[in-house]
């Protein structure tokens, strides 16, 4: 048991801190769920990438620093403590990139990763469909074989960032005759501006177009944009769900910074008694999440896989995030109702946490069945 960092790790932390102090915009950027804000966040990604801070844990060949998991965690602590902007490329960096590292070809990595790292190409995810949410494997959007590639048709929805993004990745049914729904799915990347794609933005609770519906009508995708073998899409999508991606979707640094902001808000409001326990729980929860992640990272670095335990993680941070922001809005009293504050934007964002990336009900089923060994039953 050891929670000390090496001199090299501390030096890395100090370097990140110094860079962020010099570069983080003094004024917050406009919301990334607006056209103007989206563009401003892409400029910020380019600034990060110019000094190799956008994807520190990636190999240098793709724009990273080969920094490894521990340094990535330290970077994230510094990043959010510095009040740096949200990451417009989060979907690509934390969902698509790990899949390409594990299942992509060298050609795909060389083509896709550097412009993702620089923010030049922003990726949206295309998993859910109107009739396939938690039961994702029942999806019906299809990929039909054609000369040199595939034709995609169907409807995807709740596609985060798709209102302004460039490209998307997701699962399509390539073999309608496969014996089980999890079989016959193919993992593909496609251009959101290709002929046959219609993007219809959807306003989330606060009216901002944070996601979109995608209508696909015989959209051509070349073979080079298939990840892994056709028909293996489910296995590919799920295998990265359980490993480091479970760790990297939401870093502890984010919540440590949020808890600190809440503590300051509570102090500024005169340390009201009614919020005392909830503020303490925010501080404690951030530390618990940090230490849980250090333990998981330690195991990962020793070659263990994280597996279904990432479901513990997802339920914890998503519920923690809402509780923290509810406390903040309560502390703000009448001002808690305002829609154009940083706290309210973060609150609205937090509300989606238990729904996306596998609802918390699905996560609890996974915990019960795969970690506790309870029998499968009706959902």
């Amino acid at each position: 048991m050891d929670l000390t960092f090496s001199a090299e790790e501390e030096a890395f932390r100090a370097e990140a801190r110094a860079w962020l102090r010099a570069h983080v915009p003094a004024e917050p950027l406009p919301s990334l769920e607006t056209e103007e804000g989206f563009a401003a966040h892409q400029v910020w990604e380019a600034e990060l990438a110019a000094d190799r801070w956008s994807v520190v844990n990636w190999p240098a060949a793709y724009g990273g620093r080969g920094a490894g998991l521990v340094r990535w965690l330290l970077f994230e602590e510094e990043y959010y403590a510095a009040g740096a902007p949200g990451r417009v490329s989060q979907n690509g960096i934390s969902l698509l990139a790990p899949t390409l590292f594990d299942f992509g070809t060298e050609e795909q990595r060389a083509r896709v990763l550097p412009p993702m790292a620089s923010g030049e190409v922003v990726w949206a995810q295309a998993w859910s469909e109107p009739e396939a949410g938690s039961d994702l494997a029942s999806l019906t959007s299809k990929a039909v074989r054609t000369a040199g590639g595939w034709l995609l048709s169907g409807q995807k929805t709740w596609s985060s960032r798709a209102a302004f993004a460039d490209r998307a990745f997701g699962l399509f049914r390539s073999d309608p005759d496969a014996p089980r729904p999890h079989q016959g799915l193919t993992y593909l990347m496609f251009d959101l501006r290709a002929p046959g794609v219609t993007v219809r933005p959807i306003s989330r609770l606060d009216g901002r177009p944070a996601f979109a519906e995608l209508f696909l009508d015989e959209v051509f995708v070349p073979d080079e944009d298939v990840i892994g073998e056709p028909g293996q899409g489910w296995r590919i999508a799920m295998s990265t769900a359980g490993n480091e991606r479970g760790l990297m979707l939401r870093s502890p640094g984010r919540f440590l910074a949020s808890a600190d902001r809440l503590r300051r808000l509570w102090a500024d409001r005169g340390r009201p008694e009614h919020a005392r326990d909830r503020v303490a729980d925010a501080l404690i929860g951030a530390r618990a999440y940090q230490l849980f992640t250090f333990a998981a990272a330690s195991r990962f670095l020793e070659g263990e896989s994280i597996g279904p335990e990432s479901s513990l993680n997802k339920v914890f941070w998503s519920e923690y995030d809402i509780a923290l922001h509810e406390t903040a809005l309560d502390l703000l009293e009448a001002d808690g109702e305002l829609a154009d504050t940083d706290w309210s934007e973060r609150y609205v964002f937090s509300l989606a946490g238990p729904i996306y990336a596998g609802t918390n009900e699905i996560q609890r089923d996974i915990i019960a069945e795969r970690l506790l060994g309870l029998p499968k039953g009706r959902r």
Binding site: M1, I284, A288, R299, V315, I367, L374, P375, R379
Partner: protein, 360 residues
């Protein structure tokens, strides 16, 4: 950074678990609750032989410590098996005695605590403890009707702290703002909601061991091992309840296949899994705020698991006879032992930060 127990620490946990499983600990708990201590004392000797109490005693006093991480490892197992007796108090007494400016009392008392020949209890009066008038005992004849909004409230102990198992402990310590005393004796045993916890008031007076004991250090030890014990209690409750819902069939299916049941157990697992790193993080730093955070979260996780365990066992879980009760009642008692949830949260807020906060 390597935030994992090493092979030796894991083996230590496994050996304690095996020893306590083989020892028919539940019988010792039942006997202890009735004031029959022979089985519990035998268990105590075996725990001491395994080196548990020595972990709290520095080498100069014939111990192996102080080793808070290993203490936490051990107390998770003691909680898992609901071991009775003043375990936390003995460890806390060791931390207190070892930190006295005058080595005399430590030389005299610590070696026997390390070997298990002596057991200690400790009554701790916080510096800011309110002076509370004693209530008339519940059910006493001719007691006046309770005053629902009387201020200040009364307490059965009159605000005095209880010492756990004062009738068994051979070293009875009273820690007050005036110093640390060796108490001359104890009052009658009062029942706890956890029958295996026997609460006593200590008699005032006795030898003054030190006017200036290391209170904060001792309290950190008490809270750390209470948190560990609670985590073990919670893990045992979860394991027993998972086994029950796999076996118990209703509507033609194991009740553990029902989503309402699964989700309660999943939540229990989440709460326990996030308490564990707080516990071991606190054992590494022993910073009072870190330990307080571990204490409140581990105890709340254990208590929430107890509520789930009771609900999912149904009526059988509500009986004193069924073995589950040994853990159910302990989870409740540990919540307020050595610092209520609100006191622990106040400690965190007063510090304003926990270790791992990069602002410093």
């Amino acid at each position: 950074m390597r935030f994992l127990l090493d092979a030796e620490q894991r083996a230590f946990a496994a050996s304690l678990d095996a020893m306590l499983t083989a020892a028919d600990t539940p019988s010792a708990v039942r006997d202890w609750s009735r004031g029959e201590h022979a089985g519990g004392r035998a268990l105590w000797s075996r725990i001491a032989e395994a080196g548990v109490f020595a972990l709290a005693v520095p080498e100069v006093y014939e111990g192996l410590g102080p080793r808070p991480v290993e203490l936490a490892v051990a107390f998770v197992e003691l909680g898992r098996h609901a071991v009775p007796g003043p375990l936390v108090e003995t460890v806390t007494a060791a931390a207190l005695l070892a930190g006295l400016p005058d080595p005399g009392p430590a030389k005299r008392l610590l070696p026997a605590l390390a070997t298990g020949e002596a057991t200690a209890t400790l009554a701790w009066t916080a510096p800011d403890a309110p002076s509370t008038p004693a209530c008339t005992a519940v059910g006493a004849p001719h007691s006046p009707p309770p005053q629902p909004y009387a201020s200040p409230p009364c307490a059965p102990s009159g605000g005095q702290p209880y010492a756990l198992d004062g009738d068994v402990a051979t070293t009875r310590l009273a820690l007050t703002p005036e110093g640390l005393r060796l108490s001359p004796g104890h009052g009658p045993v009062r029942p706890s909601l956890d029958p295996a916890r026997r609460l006593t008031l200590l008699q005032p007076g006795g030898e003054l061991l030190s006017p200036d004991p290391p209170t904060a250090q001792a309290l950190a030890h008490a809270r750390l091992v209470t948190a560990a014990q609670a985590l073990g209690v919670g893990e045992a409750l979860l394991g027993k309840t998972v086994a029950h819902v796999r076996r118990r069939t209703q509507f033609g299916a194991p009740i553990g296949s029902f989503q309402a049941v699964k989700h309660r157990l999943a939540d229990a697992r989440i709460a326990l899994e996030f308490a564990r790193p707080l516990l071991f993080g606190a054992a590494l730093t022993m910073a009072p705020a870190d330990v307080a955070a571990a204490k409140v979260i581990a105890c709340e996780a254990a208590y929430a698991t107890a509520r789930t365990a009771l609900q999912l066992h149904g009526a059988i879980g509500y009986t004193a006879e069924y073995e589950l009760s040994l853990w159910l009642t302990k989870a409740r008692a540990l919540r307020t032992a050595w610092g209520s949830p609100q006191a622990c949260r106040a400690e965190v807020l007063d510090a304003g930060r926990l270790s791992g906060d990069r602002r410093w």
